[in-house]
Symmetry: C2
Subunit: 529 residues, 2 copies
């Protein structure tokens, strides 16, 4: 009977792959988002918030996971509206907005956006189905100056949130170069772009997995295919050995993937929770040499040559603006997994000793055809997306952001009949800008009130029993000093601690403020920043 | 053929009932959310962000729209996870969190949350399927002091965002009183609570529609039913005339619904876009009289008496804390539509001349059984939810929040070969904290650059042609002064405007700053606040 009733209860759980964010974590994230937004804003980008729900057709199918229904999105059918879906990124909705409001928006339209996106993918440690992105994009600018600006801004953003120069690198590549290489290798025919499109998709996704699979794994996927540790076989693109050589030479041209000249660089062991993150020994190949290698590899391909020219221009623009190769550099193995990129692509990777295991924390590129899907007219666009949660995790690792306790002053309830007096104390404290509350649980067990103050990381507890009330005083307990013993001690022991002081009731606010200032925190900070 | 291709294009539209938020609107909303969060924080509440997606069973079915599948939520089935849904409010997820993390969280747990919620309801003007809520709740406090605190805080929040005292009123009622009245009327049998549950549901929803239907409409729904203007018939609760009299006397006990003593107050014409908003002539019935009437109406009902006692205590607590009936008062016609309330309920209504058409902007109450659904153990809880979009619309109506132009300084491109020089100007401005960008569109048509600056509400445009470069100067155009003519005038006319000045290149930053300060705006404000 009891069991029966229990079975009818809903489970108090988030769906698999979803999570909640509490207090200090959330405040930290909002602080970082504000720092990023400040840089975006300084660069002239305006905020935009699109709805979480889009029509499935507006989102399009650009996620790497093409083998599953709905390509990795959460989608459902409504009687009137047809198929709807949760956005999987902030770029597809921007393309929809740029098409929908093309008459009203300025050209170029420069916007930033921050918010959750949803992916219907297999969750794993540190990999959730809802996560935050923070994007900036320029729509309507064909010039590579727009791409170079995005890369420069990305470097500025990383430094603004606390990643020191030298601990990150922005890597830049160009899909046109990759297409040129494919042309040279004979898996792309400019006159018939649909031919071998499936094979090229496999090549793209294989390269994108370089950090996880290593050069041998990628090479296997370029050819017949690859069997992973579990025994599962993934079919490859079916390229010939000579064709695969060209592609491997391309991704090795920066010295990173180790395919150039046959020398295989050491891949660090991927012992991280973060899928897709891995770092490699980088060869210090000069930019000019990389560009020359690429020019050689694309051969006679018009697209390829254009791509190399663009990379050269971006490198020159970044250099002129003072962004050296310690901050941004060309790296041919960066291709990004999303299907919609058409030109320059870039990503930011953490390379500092403490943070390199977090790998890529931002990525983006040019997607000139996304708006065209809607309007039929080409609209050039480029932008970047920052993986907020991973960047935050990396910053926590460095200890550069701390979880500052900012709990409220807790006015305890010694005497249930005098609640109005306690509330008056709370009101006075709040009126002075001091975060405060009266204990609202059952006041019978005073120990619970102290435990509560402890859990809230309260800086000060205020106590006034009958005796204190009669004498016109209150007890102030400095909980930062007394934290370690508060949980166990009895009320009498606790009252005798040096961290406790008796002060006149009339001096409550002034004395609490002095105690907070003595703790070095001043008045508790605003939380939502 | 062309037609065929067009038909394959996706439509650049949000799904019906969804919308986007741009620049200034978004900045305004975030500013208001920060103001609300500051008050919540000051009161000791901690932030929480739950995932947008919950299991359908965790959300439960509490929306008023019980006649439709999924009761007004967006839901879909996943192979592994079963039925998932977008949260329809922030309370149901809080109950799930309180149950899931009951070991880790402090008791009471006081949290605030802000974010979008989704309702699968018929959209209408000003009524969207995704909208923002901003909630604060205390979980684990049985005392009505927790309810009184929420009401007081709600008043403080409204004043903090800019609604003056006198232009809002917080109305308080108690579901226990309503249940007591139902008991007295013979539609609730304490020993058999499931009996007449369906009828009581109709009564509750009828009362909740008082502002839209008027007393006659409610009365009809208490009895046989009601035919609306469209001819549709809604079945009523089937109460007898005598039973309906008791209920009508209850909702009229505060003098608002006009049922008390047979005098029907005038309902203002509901000429607003906002469903559910309407204001009425309020009778100034003293609180003591209202309480006496309620005590009379609940008769011998134990629950009813307890409800009246609680209302009396809340009124006393608010009074002791200095919240007079100009800010918070008892009003029996307030019942709130959601099914999960078990005790005190409250809402804030705007009553100022300019804003009264916006009606109710916040509501909440006590829901002691929501956590129990999961754990089997009763966990008392109470809280408030603010309808952010409607409150924002009301504040706009009063002109108390303005859309301050804060566009970037635009460095125009006169000479494509000198992009690096223009970028250097932009960098200097940004380094000085001045929002700036280089024009990234096609620079050929200079008029388009000026139109762009105009659309961006740019405060200053920087111009440097060959001639200026040779002389080591730049032109600064004050666009706030010159806005009205910028769009039409030719470059030459435009250069002759008094709002334009030639300054040395080396003085660029200082001169731009002086111009911005002259415009009264200082440097453009941070946007994400």
């Amino acid at each position: 009977m009891a069991k029966d009733r229990k079975e009818r209860r809903p489970r108090a759980e988030t769906p698999k792959g979803f999570r909640d964010y509490f207090g200090a974590d959330l405040a930290e994230r909002n602080r970082m988002l504000a720092q990023i937004a400040d840089v975006y804003h300084l660069y002239g980008f305006d905020p935009l918030e699109t709805s979480a729900v889009e029509t499935l057709e507006a989102l399009g199918k650009y996620l790497p996971d093409v083998d599953r229904p709905h390509a990795g999105v959460f989608a459902w059918e409504e009687e009137e509206s047809g198929w709807l879906a949760l956005r999987y990124d902030l770029t597809a909705p921007l393309a929809r907005v740029a098409a929908q409001f093309r008459q009203e928006l300025p050209t170029p339209y420069r916007r930033y956006a921050m918010g959750p996106v949803w992916r219907n993918e297999k969750p794993g440690p540190g990999r959730y189905r809802q996560f935050y992105q923070c994007d900036a994009d320029t729509v309507g600018a064909a010039s590579v100056a727009a791409d170079a600006e995005i890369v420069a801004m990305l470097a500025d953003v990383l430094e603004a949130v606390g990643i020191p120069r030298g601990d990150y690198i922005c890597r830049v590549n160009n899909r046109k170069v990759l297409n040129g290489v494919m042309e040279a290798a004979g898996v792309l025919e400019p006159a018939d772009p649909d031919k071998w499109a499936h094979e090229r998709g496999i090549v793209l996704r294989a390269i994108d997995k370089l950090d996880r699979l290593g050069p041998e794994g990628v090479r296997a996927l370029l050819g017949e295919g690859r069997r992973d540790e579990s025994g599962d076989f993934t079919r490859g693109a079916g390229l010939s050995g000579a064709q695969a050589d060209v592609v491997m030479a391309f991704i090795g041209a920066g010295g990173m993937a180790g395919a150039q000249g046959g020398a295989v660089d050491v891949l660090t062991d991927d012992a991280t929770d973060y899928p897709g993150s891995a770092t490699m020994e980088t060869g210090a190949v000069p930019q000019g040499v990389v560009l020359a290698r690429l020019r050689d590899l694309v051969g006679a391909s018009e697209t390829g040559r254009q791509g190399v020219d663009e990379l050269e221009q971006i490198a020159a623009l970044l250099d002129a603006q003072g962004y050296g190769t310690d901050r941004a550099m060309i790296e041919p193995s960066v291709v990004r997994g999303l299907g919609y990129y058409t030109g320059p692509v870039f990503e930011a990777e953490l390379v500092g000793e403490e943070t390199k295991r977090f790998g890529s924390v931002a990525g983006g590129g040019r997607y000139d055809d996304l708006v065209k899907r809607f309007t039929g007219q080409a609209v050039p666009a480029t932008g970047v997306s920052i993986g907020v949660d991973r960047l935050l995790a990396a910053l926590r690792e460095t200890g550069r952001i701390g979880r500052r306790a900012a709990g409220p002053v807790v006015v305890t309830v010694m005497d249930r009949a005098r609640m109005a007096d306690y509330q008056a104390m709370v009101r006075e404290l709040r009126a002075a800008g001091i975060r405060a509350e009266m204990y609202l649980g059952n006041p019978r067990n005073f120990g619970n009130q102290l435990k509560y103050a402890d859990r809230r990381e309260s800086p000060v507890a205020v106590i006034q029993g009958e005796d204190e009330a009669a004498r016109g005083v209150v007890q102030l307990k400095d909980l930062v000093l007394g934290a370690q013993i508060a949980a166990e001690a009895s009320l009498e022991e606790w009252k005798n601690q040096p961290a406790q002081r008796e002060v006149p009731r009339a001096a409550l606010v002034a004395e609490v403020r002095a105690m907070l200032e003595g703790q070095g925190g001043g008045t508790p900070e605003r939380k939502w920043e």
